[in-house]
Symmetry: C2
Subunit: 374 residues, 2 copies
């Protein structure tokens, strides 16, 4: 049965009109393992391939001026000088109290003030999340913001979406519902998946009394699926993360983070074993030479720099997190994702979707209470 508030929301996901103004990205140049040089190298790549994107670059003036000159980006980049840097060891609570003046704080402020719609940073994830929640604040109706990651998959888009992978460590049924809605919006606008399929992560064993919130969440997600113009495929397991049967997988942040790290570790292990196997004998080293093209194709497919750090969903403004160790290519991938989300007016649509669904749930509950059924 159609619920007008959610279907009106769904109509918001129709392709955006051609933008009349360029996209502005707010980029934190500091705090990554490879320093501002890697970030500016990434900016240079994207500046070259996308002529309508402008960059606000936050960080140490001396470093950035030199780098911007090297890449001849003066007409594409505006430097915002900041002396402070959030390091990987800084505690998020400390950064919330004393972080003003850091490049991370400044980069977030530019989105808060509306100068840009998306922040990109390679710095301390915990601090970035804490500052983003503090300064950008949650969207109406969002209880827990989430970090969503892209997982290599057999789907045409090449990736599935999983969330939460670390913004929090527990999730109630209502949080999982919100994750589903935010994930659907991300899959639509970030991956161009027209009708995303949502699954809730669970284990196969039956009759366990714990984790009742998963069944509850699944029911709630199924209830709004039609109105939200997505499909709910039911429970999925860890082995379904790369599956072509699902597009968005929702779970609590602890489980999601363990799954994310496990997948990364396993891919790395297989790659190491493959490399060791190739080195094992003279004949296999010859095989390696012949197989260079194969290995290159595989690495490109599984490239963690493309998968990268994640997107923060549920705040007033979009935050893209690049891996701390990202090089220029990795940063460029994060920036391209940020551009795509900015162009699709992702932030506005996500806000509308979440708000609309909250209304839909309330309306359905009211109807049920009034005894007219659903």
């Amino acid at each position: 049965m159609q619920d007008t508030s959610v279907s009106e929301t769904a109509a918001v996901d129709a392709p955006a009109a051609a933008p009349t103004s360029h996209v502005v990205l707010s980029v934190d140049a500091m705090g990554g393992d490879l320093g501002p040089a890697a970030v500016v190298a990434g900016v240079a790549k994207v500046a070259q391939s996308m002529s309508d994107v402008q960059f606000l670059l936050h960080g140490r003036s001396l470093d950035l001026t030199r780098l911007v000159q090297r890449y001849k980006l003066e007409d594409r980049v505006t430097i915002r000088p900041c002396d402070g840097v959030v390091t990987m060891d800084d505690r998020p609570s400390q950064v919330m109290r004393h972080g003003e003046g850091t490049s991370m704080w400044s980069a977030i402020e530019a989105v808060r003030s509306g100068e840009a719609t998306v922040v990109v940073s390679c710095g301390n994830t915990g601090a970035l999340m804490a500052l983003s929640v503090l300064r950008l604040r949650r969207l109406p109706g969002v209880n827990r913001p989430a970090i969503a990651c892209l997982w290599p998959s057999r789907n045409p888009a090449g990736f599935n979406v999983m969330l939460d992978v670390g913004a929090d460590v527990k999730a109630e049924a209502n949080d999982l519902l919100q994750y589903a809605l935010m994930g659907v919006s991300y899959a639509r606008n970030g991956l161009d998946v027209a009708r995303p399929r949502v699954g809730v992560m669970n284990v196969g064993t039956e009759e366990h009394k714990g984790r009742a919130e998963l069944r509850q969440a699944l029911d709630m997600i199924s209830d709004v699926a039609e109105a939200g113009q997505f499909d709910c495929v039911g429970f999925v397991e860890g082995s379904d993360l790369p599956s072509d049967r699902v597009d968005v997988i929702v779970t609590d942040g602890f489980t999601g983070n363990v799954a994310l790290k496990t997948g990364e570790g396993t891919a790395r292990l297989v790659a190491d074993m493959l490399r060791a196997s190739y080195k094992a004998t003279p004949l296999s080293r010859l095989a390696a030479l012949v197989s260079l093209g194969v290995i290159r194709r595989l690495r490109k497919r599984m490239d963690p720099r493309r998968v990268n750090g994640g997107v923060f969903l549920g705040l007033n403004g979009t935050v893209v997190k690049s891996h701390g160790a990202s090089d220029g290519t990795g940063v460029a991938a994060a920036l391209e994702l940020a551009v795509q989300l900015a162009r699709s007016e992702f932030s506005t649509r996500l806000a509308a979707r979440v708000a609309g669904a909250a209304d839909a749930m309330a309306a359905a509950a009211a109807k049920a209470a009034a005894g007219t059924g659903k």
Copy 2:
């Protein structure tokens, strides 16, 4: 400070005296996807390589008599005729009530009665766990039995141990402590790791208020490590599962099962991508031919049939679960593990370790309460 009860226990882990009687394995021949033929093929392999092992084989008399004759195993195998079979769809609670007469029930009974020390089955995991707890009962001091799996790793033994991977879905701090003790005993006796290093699975984000039981568990595990003659390396992440810095990783069964399935799914994805990359061009197909040795070495290293279904820890008797889809090679691997555990008197040592540690914890708590410190 030495605690005599646990160090006496640790002395139990010294190498066993040469066995005076052969090992008897109790094998459930039914319920796997490939039927009794795969199981008996596995039995035949192990019978050939290990002359002192005898097998009790439970299942449909007609099938088993034919298969035993085919492989000429009459002097190694005793058939226990059973008409009933637990299927993959049977609910554990139903099997607990009506499972008598099935091959799974019969196989467990042989361990309960002392005819054999280890059960091996490829059937319904939930039913196997439920029946095993019901008929074998928990060891004194064990609140939650656990399923432990072997994870391919960079360690000399080639594998790490993770538990729980699905016996339960939640774990308190005390359960994680018991998992650690059981995992240490398994690593010692199943993998010959002299001084296992234990880690508690956690996520890297700090200052999260949930999951306080993990900190508590880590403290408890650290407290008994010296007396238990193992090391505690602290928190580990999902990416540490294949690491050479740790041997035993403890977590709750929900997280463990998700990690296990995620790792399997990722390895499968990489293998599929590798295969696709090799097929992509005529040159790469040539490279595949040259690389056959490499691929074979890699598949052997990562062979899920070797990793297999898991071991149930914490019951009066050891239960080895082989993957439902195991072929003869997979079943043989499970049987070889079972033999190793039987030979090392694993069950007895694990019981002693757990009981000893419970005493040690109680003694330490009493001392702390009496104010004499630790």
